[in-house]
Symmetry: C2
Subunit: 166 residues, 2 copies
């Protein structure tokens, strides 16, 4: 239902839950300015309508022993739809691959990968990715350091945009 529009309270709810997904409902209600029951009803509705896809704890991957993060640019030999989706399906089956996006331009896919160390990434690269049928080229870039990593969407931009169109 794309006709469903969100009012300012809904957007505030989304913004608050994006920032702190474990906030209690009473706290959330206080922040958005309504009482707890309607607030909870709104949250449930937002979940059902798919605006909220889930809740996740953000884990420090380095603390957990995943020392390296790598972007891999992948080019395929064939861009036929069946070959594209076959490659995507492969990516979904690899735990080290956390993200896979199809791109325009020279490169067909970009993959974001994590691994405990360089050698385990190397073995994934040579043993899995490079041996996958239809993979023509892979260029990898190691992440030296992370400068920003914000989950989700910029609600600031959304609000700004809505105030203009009003």
């Amino acid at each position: 239902m794309p006709g469903t529009r969100l009012d300012p309270i809904d957007r505030k709810i989304l913004a608050e839950l994006q920032a702190d997904g474990r906030m209690t409902n009473v706290e959330l209600a206080k922040r958005v300015g309504i009482s707890a029951p309607p607030c909870l009803r709104r949250v449930r509705t937002l979940e059902e309508q798919g605006f909220i896809r889930g809740y996740h704890a953000e884990i420090d991957s380095r603390e957990l022993g995943f020392e390296v993060q790598v972007f891999a640019m992948v080019g395929l030999q064939s861009q036929a739809e069946s070959d594209l989706s076959a490659f995507e399906e492969r990516c979904r089956s690899w735990p080290l691959v956390r993200e896979c996006h199809m791109l325009n331009g020279e490169v067909d896919f970009i993959l974001k990968c994590v691994a405990p160390d360089l050698s385990s990434f190397q073995s994934f690269l040579t043993g899995e990715l490079l041996t996958t049928p239809n993979v023509a080229s892979v260029k990898t870039s190691l992440v030296i350091r992370g400068a920003k990593d914000e989950p989700g969407v910029p609600f600031e931009v959304l609000e700004e945009r809505l105030s203009k169109s009003a």
Copy 2:
């Protein structure tokens, strides 16, 4: 405190909360096989020690009106540390830029951006990113479609790894 090792219950807690960050503590306790009070204590400890950095609702950006997602590869003129961190600071101030990673290789940074539509990304690109001092080159790739987007870390890999070293 890198000496702090996690036992299997802690790892299970992290895995469960990564998968569902809003799970109640009693449900979590049931799943990891201990009672609620020690479970809650463990969660608090994991939060304090930084293994858990926060909790976030996962929002459907497309439903919210962010139609385009773009990766931007940025090259700088100077790679002096002060120039690198100046650029990183810029990235942190741009809401459209959700992630910024410094890379090895030819490209200095990769940026993941979202925008409501192509034209608003274009205006960000030409009006902000390209006019930033020290930016030498920017190559952008539009995301055609997303094939995988898993938050967090692959606990499967971690467990496998631990069972081997045991």
